[in-house]
Subunit: 209 residues, 2 copies
Amino acid sequence: MIPASQNAVGRPRASSRAVIEDAAAELFLENTYALTTIEHITQRAGVSRNTFFNYFDAKSDVLWVELDAAIDRLSRELQAVPRGRPALEEIRAATIRVVSDIGVDRVPLALTQDDVMGTAEETRVSGLARLARRSDLIADFLAGHLLRSPNDLLVLSAANALSGAISAAWTVWARDGIGRHPLAEYMAEAFDVVSNGLEFALGTTSVAE
Amino acid sequence: MIPASQNAVGRPRASSRAVIEDAAAELFLENTYALTTIEHITQRAGVSRNTFFNYFDAKSDVLWVELDAAIDRLSRELQAVPRGRPALEEIRAATIRVVSDIGVDRVPLALTQDDVMGTAEETRVSGLARLARRSDLIADFLAGHLLRSPNDLLVLSAANALSGAISAAWTVWARDGIGRHPLAEYMAEAFDVVSNGLEFALGTTSVAE
DNA sequence: TTCTATTGTTGGACTCAGTACAATATTATG
DNA sequence: CATAATATTGTACTGAGTCCAACAATAGAA
């Protein structure tokens, strides 16, 4: 409930959205995601409970701010691709472009601090919604560029597989500890796996014991 | 609240679980998933609200009974595969085995009646949890058979891609209208896409306008 | 049969996410 | 300064999911 006038002079007042994000990030780390209520967050942020819902549709949205932004960018990048280009290559290039400026600073909360925040299940489900959104984007793109229906089995399989691989890159990057290698490297490797085929990537036979 | 004694003589009393499932299926169709409360379901089923939670952890679980069973079976099938076998082939075979006896009768509620039940978003999120579980199964299997970590990027990418393709097969099968072709056929095609590689499946260049 | 342990079912009280809507404050714009 | 647009708040509500203690039903042993 600290009024803006108590801020240092001249300093621009932080937007409610940013204040809420910061408060949430702190509390998730202190008390885990599950034990943090929206009321806690808004109390610390010094706003009313309803203000939270002005900026987020769900508690879990705060976890995925960065990823959502990345998916938004991917969407714009894909829309900008002219027809006639090799579809798979363009998806790969767009994905890596979007991801290449994601550094140690801007990372989805959920990914890096998953263990700290406990209850991976809680966060996973909401994360999966992002996977689905990305699948939709890619499916639409593929459908447009291959002149097929977005409900086509080939299109859907490919879109889901690609989105899954992208997810894997994010996940492993985070688990390895961001900063080891840039995310773009993981992304490229994950793409290769599905592009070239699992048959090729995994080999035809598994390791004997 | 109808006591069992009012049932026809000799007929074995239906388990609460089945009664709840049936009531839910009816109500979802009548009023959509979103507008059906757990109280509605249990009232029609003639049990108390708490009994619902004896059998299901969440309202959405009722939608996925069949799919959950299929994933359980997949898990058992994979565990039974001896070491040294070609991993990808075995996953493919196990998946198709599991799916081959799924007919018009036993279908996840959520898939077939998605439009009827309205609000696909609601159902999608819970469905994604199944995709994740299947990814985990496959990742564990691959890790074991390739002697790699389940957190390995190759393993995770492959697992996610496969699980995504499997999802696509279910989805398209349902959208096409079950009964057109057996699910196993869709499944085989979806597998081919990721196994042989998207590069191959999609071609290197897209269609020009 | 009767006693007993186990399992299934219920009631009740509770927390919290998310929604709806009207009222008020704040800011921008003429 | 007046007015419109936007941000914020208060209040009241629904419904999912949890917890726990009480109670009913059933099976098995004696």
